[in-house]
């Protein structure tokens, strides 16, 4: 092979190598970004669970006449937002989503079942322990199922 041929073959090799490394870089960056997004969703969900737990504890330990009327709308809205976060987080895994939603339903029921929203409800201190336990279980379940998600590095999309 002459000099020109060698230069041509080297150029082709160089271009191919750049294309392959470029493709890997792009895939790695995208996967890293998506993994970071997943982790921040887990943190966001955890903070939301804490906020809901606190609001729900206030709701059930305060007399109906002293409670902010908007709280009975705010709490279900926050729970729905939590449902949206977890549905998006576990969109790739039905098993993970199902496990999380079972605990989310328990958390939801611990707060909004029974006389929630009733104009005549009375304080119910017995609910606090159940709300906190369900909230804590839900947080643990979200973290556990996050670890069970297949890494985005191997995602074909």
């Amino acid at each position: 092979m002459g000099f020109i041929g060698t230069v041509f073959a080297s150029s082709i090799g160089f271009i191919l190598a750049r294309l392959v490394t470029g493709w890997f870089d792009a895939k790695f960056s995208k996967a890293s970004y998506l993994e970071t997004e997943r982790n921040s969703d887990v943190e966001r969900a955890g903070r939301l669970i804490d906020d809901i737990t606190e609001a729900a504890s206030n709701y059930w330990t305060t007399d109906i006449t002293a409670i902010l009327p908007t709280l009975q709308y705010q709490i279900p809205a926050d729970i729905a937002e939590l449902g949206g976060i977890t549905a998006n987080l576990f969109v790739d895994s039905t098993n993970c989503l199902s496990a999380v939603q079972t605990d989310l339903d328990r958390f939801d029921d611990a707060i909004t079942a029974g006389e929630f929203g009733s104009a005549t409800r009375s304080q119910d201190f017995s609910k606090i322990q159940a709300i906190r336990t369900c909230g804590s279980t839900l947080k643990t379940q979200i973290r556990r199922q996050r670890r069970n998600l297949p890494p985005k590095w191997f995602d074909r999309r």
Binding site: D78, L82, G117
Partner: protein
């Protein structure tokens, strides 16, 4: 005939509460004024859950579990009612509604 009920537009933008005294968006009113009349006419119902800020369990239980306590036949509910829930995370409410109906059937049959 199929009727679509979009809860936030046709009923109330903030569905909450169980009894009439709990406010305009309560589950009893939704059940008695919207669900029962349509089911009695034999209409197919599509209940559109989207757009609401959320649904407390007390509302869902009274509106849908309450159908069983109102002696609406479970087979009729399963045959005529469908749900639309495309907002993120709202599919969960459909499962919850069917769970409330199933629980009400169990309680009713044990009584």
């Amino acid at each position: 005939m199929t009727t679509t009920i979009k809860i936030v537009e046709d009923f109330h933008p903030l569905p909450a509460g169980r009894y009439v005294a709990d406010g305009k968006g309560n589950g009893t009113t939704f059940r008695d004024d919207y669900l029962v009349p349509a089911l009695e006419k034999g209409e197919n119902l599509i209940i559109d859950l989207d757009g609401a800020p959320g649904y407390p369990s007390s509302f869902l239980e009274e509106a849908f579990g309450g159908l069983i306590r109102k002696n609406v036949q479970p087979e009729l509910i399963r045959k005529l009612i469908e749900f639309k829930a495309s907002d993120p995370g709202f599919q969960r409410y459909v499962s919850k509604i069917w769970a409330h109906i199933d629980r009400a059937i169990t309680v009713n049959s044990a009584a």
